[in-house]
């Protein structure tokens, strides 16, 4: 390269500390006239990478960290027509060693059967009632998953009526969902009353991730793949009424119907008094088993009815207190009921208190009580006549109390920092709805969170 001169030699020398092949390409590229003259551009590959801003939230035992990367591009087609595309990439990593039973609880708690456990129980003796494993990561299990979601929204505004259409696709290692929603809001009474209505449909496919980022699907012992399709229809009707200058009332009714594979692909339940005797070795002949949990015939794969109809009513009251520095009170009550006999009540109160120095303090408290589904048991005393088995703690009877407080401060305009603490306690005994629950499902946790927001 006679005419390139000393510049190229220097670049080549620096570049060769990196991979020699990349160095050759880089040197040749930078030697082309006009390629190296960019001031202010950092061309060293080690300075860039796949990094981006993320919001970080750690559970009290350092378990789950959620990285949310979000962007959206909004373009206006016409004054009253907006098209927006969202992409959200959530990377969910962490989870714990499934056999370490001192780390239970969390956003998606998992309970593991105590084979070889550290609680002083005999080998094979059941410690917890439920066996589960999450999306696959090597042999350690835990929860490891990646989700990619793309959705689009279209909305059109007429005088008092706004219609929206929203649809998209969400893919994880063990789940694909295609969905769309239609919604409309209508303002009456000079905007003092708003009616809203919505309809949605989702078509999902679920399976149990057996490795290779979901390419391998787990099966039952009869060879059939665990999982299947699930269709959900949902409808909503809502009313928001402004009561006076400082308060409003909101009421929503939602109904939905799901059909298809509604069981949990990862969970199994323990059944006593089975034909052929229990322990290890004898074949299971009375229920479906997942291959992963077929080492004992007492374990039956989570099997739930193929349809579920759900209804919920939400009532919310919001009041502003101008005299208390624009503080606000939110009171929520929600009633839920479904065709699996699950019923629940939620009572929640939030207080938003602006403080001097651009700070906002938000304490809140929530009480929740639930009745179990008709087929739930912590441990089954006998095989069931209907063939349903589920020890999923989310279908049990229980009560839960949660409370917390967060504090946010604006450092400079458009830049906020916040910190919060949330306590949660779930126990079988603190519900009032009866039904079946298990003290083995009790847990509590504390979450600390920190967030930073910058808006330009």
């Amino acid at each position: 390269m006679a005419s390139a001169g000393g510049g190229v030699a220097v670049i080549k020398q620096k570049a060769q500390r990196r991979a020699p092949r990349l160095a050759a390409f880089t040197a040749a590229a930078l030697a082309i006239p006009g390629m190296s003259e960019a001031e202010g551009i950092d061309l060293k590959p080690e300075n860039f990478g796949i990094d981006s801003a993320y919001s970080n939230y750690q559970e009290s035992h350092g378990r789950m960290s959620v990285m949310a990367i979000q962007s959206d591009a909004a373009a206006q087609w016409a004054d009253d027509l907006n098209f927006k595309v969202n992409t959200v990439l959530d990377y969910i990593g962490g989870g714990s060693d499934p056999m370490n039973q001192s780390l239970v609880g969390g956003a998606s708690p998992v309970f593991y059967w105590g084979k070889g456990n550290t609680y002083g129980k005999k080998t094979g003796e059941l410690e917890y009632s439920q066996a589960t494993h999450g999306a696959y990561k090597g042999l350690k299990g835990g929860i490891f998953d990646q989700r990619l979601s793309v959705s689009g929204q279209l909305s059109k505004k007429f005088d008092d009526l706004t219609l929206g259409l929203n649809g998209g696709n969400s893919t994880e290692w063990d789940y694909v969902s295609n969905f769309f929603n239609l919604d409309g809001t209508y303002d009456l009474n000079g905007k003092n009353t708003t009616l809203s209505t919505g309809f949605g449909y989702a078509s999902d496919t679920v399976w149990a991730d057996g490795g290779d980022q979901g390419q391998i699907h787990q099966t039952y012992t009869n060879g059939k793949e665990i999982g299947g399709n699930k269709n959900t229809y949902q409808a909503l009707l809502g009313l928001t009424q402004i009561i006076d200058r400082t308060s409003l009332l909101q009421a929503n009714v939602t109904v939905s119907n799901s059909s298809g594979f509604l069981s949990d692909p990862y969970k199994s339940a323990w059944v006593n008094n089975i034909p052929g005797g229990g322990g290890f070795g004898p074949q299971n002949t009375f229920c479906t088993q997942s291959v992963r949990f077929s080492f004992s015939p007492n374990l039956c794969a989570d099997t739930r009815p193929g349809t579920r109809t759900q209804e919920a009513v939400l009532v919310r009251y919001v009041k502003d207190f101008e005299e208390l520095n624009q503080a606000a009170l939110h009171l929520d009550y929600r009633f839920y009921s479904d065709s699996w006999n699950v019923q629940s009540h939620t009572f929640e109160a939030n207080w938003v208190q602006p403080l001097p120095y651009e700070m906002i303090l938000s304490p809140h408290v929530r009480y929740y009580t639930q009745r179990s589904s008709f087929f739930y048991q912590g441990v089954y005393d006998n095989p069931t006549a209907n063939g349903f088995y589920s020890s999923d703690y989310r279908l049990a009877s229980f009560g839960a109390i949660a409370g917390g407080v967060s504090l946010n401060k604006a450092i400079i305009p458009n830049f906020n920092v916040g910190a919060g603490i949330e306590l949660y306690d779930r126990s079988q005994g603190s519900g009032f709805m009866g039904g079946t629950g298990s003290a083995a499902d009790n847990y509590s946790f504390t979450i600390y969170s920190v967030n930073v927001n910058l808006k330009l």
Binding site: A28, M35, A38, S71
Partner: protein, 292 residues
Amino acid sequence: MGSPCHLSLFGGSFEELERAATTVLEEVERIEQRYSRYRQDSVLSDLNRKAFTPQGVVVDDEMAGLLDYANTCYEESDGLFDVTSGLLRRAWNFSGQAVTLPPQSTIDQLLKRVGWGKVIWDRPLFRFKVSDMELDFGGIAKEFAADRAVHTLVRHGIHSGVVNFGGDLRVIGPRPDGSPWEVGIYHPHHAGELLATLPLHQGAVTTSGSYERYLEVAGKRYSHLLNPKTGWPVRGLASVSVVAPLALIAGSASTIAMLKGKGGPQWLKSMGLPALWVTDAGKVGEFKRPPL
């Protein structure tokens, strides 16, 4: 250029952006005029006509730089990236439907006029050793233009934006709030679906794939990327995306990886750039740079 080109720029004033964009378009037009094989009056077409003469052609610095780069690509790809292989497209019609595959004799005839080993490149002198050869900068010019566009914009004081030339893109700088640009990469086997989203603060990402331009004969798919040694379409990978500081490097790397077929992932690892690929069978792989 043969593909849609898109600039997203953030700047202080609309006039400033307009001025910058105009300069970029002029630069891109200049590159197109010089290196397009579709234009009879381009510098490249002129070279193609005159290079098979005893005295050859003396080329200017920019053409020389590109020829040196093409030479590096040839050597580092074990001869698979070859800017003389454009002739082979005459045997394959990738834009329409074909009923049959080209006869081997047609390919053999064309192969006689293909091969970087059949040129003499002794900067600044360029010569073809065999008649009726042709240089094609199709794998280089567009990416070079993207990098030149970015450098032009930076000189104009634009530090935030993206230059997207037909799906190969180079970031000028992150968004004004510092957040990265989210780049979606299409899944080669599921039309319209995204395979991944990549956040980029700077640098370039290019994707080479066999899923947009191909030939289907008797139910089998033939990619538009041809192996210059055999004249036949390559197999093995359905798409490759590479991240690099320059679009030129990312583009060459993703093309070479595709040309290497099953050997692509191994080659990408030796390159050391972040890369994502999908095999013909649908298996997804990636290479993340180890921390330095």
